[in-house]
């Protein structure tokens, strides 16, 4: 159920039931909120950034080979 809630793939009736359950169940509420936060943190923080110099170098190499027909 947790992933269906996160991905919003539950029916309207089911969602209403789950919302009601969440009001009364601290464990579920915490798990849902912290799982959402987990996804959000990974989405919003670049952990493998490509330095500008490297990006330009790779980009140039790719385009040069494409121009030569690879």
């Amino acid at each position: 159920m947790l992933d269906d809630l996160i991905d919003d793939t539950v029916s309207r009736e089911m969602r209403a039931d789950l919302q009601e359950h969440l009001h009364g169940c601290e464990h579920c509420e915490v798990t849902l909120n912290t799982t959402r936060k987990t996804i959000e943190i990974y989405r919003s923080h670049e952990i493998y950034e490509m330095p500008a110099g490297l990006r330009e170098r790779l980009h140039k190499a790719i385009m040069e080979r494409c121009r030569k027909g690879c």
Binding site: L2, D3, E26, T31, Y42, H45, E46, I47, L58, M63
Partner: protein, 213 residues
């Protein structure tokens, strides 16, 4: 109170179709645009899979070159980005296998760990917990945490939740069934949540029991 909102960002449009068409007609500058548009994502995915910077650089070049060579085979019924990601994932897995000679790395291998399949840590997190760390510390925590996942979970999480592919696209890209993607995604999310709790948990002021509402 928890509010229920979708996080998935479904995009029905195929804005790259025109660029691909221009490349097919010989306009190489259109390919330049496609490379600039997706190079960061391809690099990130390659880093996540190979966990090696040099391999990620090679994968990025090879994936874009292969995509260029095979552009005639690209069918408009999938997005260019999804098609490119599939090439990048395959290139990355090939490099990973090469580095781990003798050790099988397969997307469809059975993952036997039960870790994280049932939540155990119910402590709430501090509000905006990432603000308790510097950018560098946070990046290190996030890297270390995701690197600890089995590769089959990690890749599903990265494609679906970080890079924004749909469940179906993730399944297609990895050659997995939709239920397999869903099951891995849930376990990846829960394992990451559980592991991040160590860092992000709200610090308790007293050891007394929390008062129920």
């Amino acid at each position: 109170m928890a509010t229920i909102q979708p996080i998935a960002n479904e995009n029905e449009q195929h804005p790259d179709v025109a660029l691909v068409e221009r490349v097919r007609k010989g306009d190489i500058s259109a390919y330049d645009e496609l490379v600039r548009k997706y190079d960061r994502q391809v690099f990130r995915i390659a880093q996540h899979i190979t966990q090696n910077r040099e391999d990620a650089e090679d994968v990025m070049q090879d994936a874009f070159l292969k995509a260029y060579e095979k552009l005639d085979q690209f069918q408009g019924n999938s997005k260019f980005y999804t098609w490119l990601v599939r090439i990048a994932v395959n290139e990355s897995l090939m490099r990973l296998r090469r580095r781990r000679t003798g050790k099988m790395v397969s997307m469809d291998e059975e993952i036997t760990t039960d870790e994280g399949s049932v939540p155990r840590d119910f402590a709430d997190w501090a509000p905006d917990p990432e603000q308790n760390y510097s950018q560098a510390e946070l990046a290190e925590i996030l890297r270390k945490t995701i690197q600890g996942l089995p590769p089959g979970f990690r890749i599903v999480f990265v494609l679906r939740d970080v890079e924004g592919l749909s469940t179906e696209e993730t399944a297609e890209t990895l050659g997995l069934s939709v239920p397999a993607v869903k099951s891995r995604l849930l376990r990846a999310r829960l394992q990451l949540r559980e592991r991040l709790s160590r860092y992000f948990k709200r610090k308790r002021i007293s050891k007394g029991k929390r008062v129920e509402k």
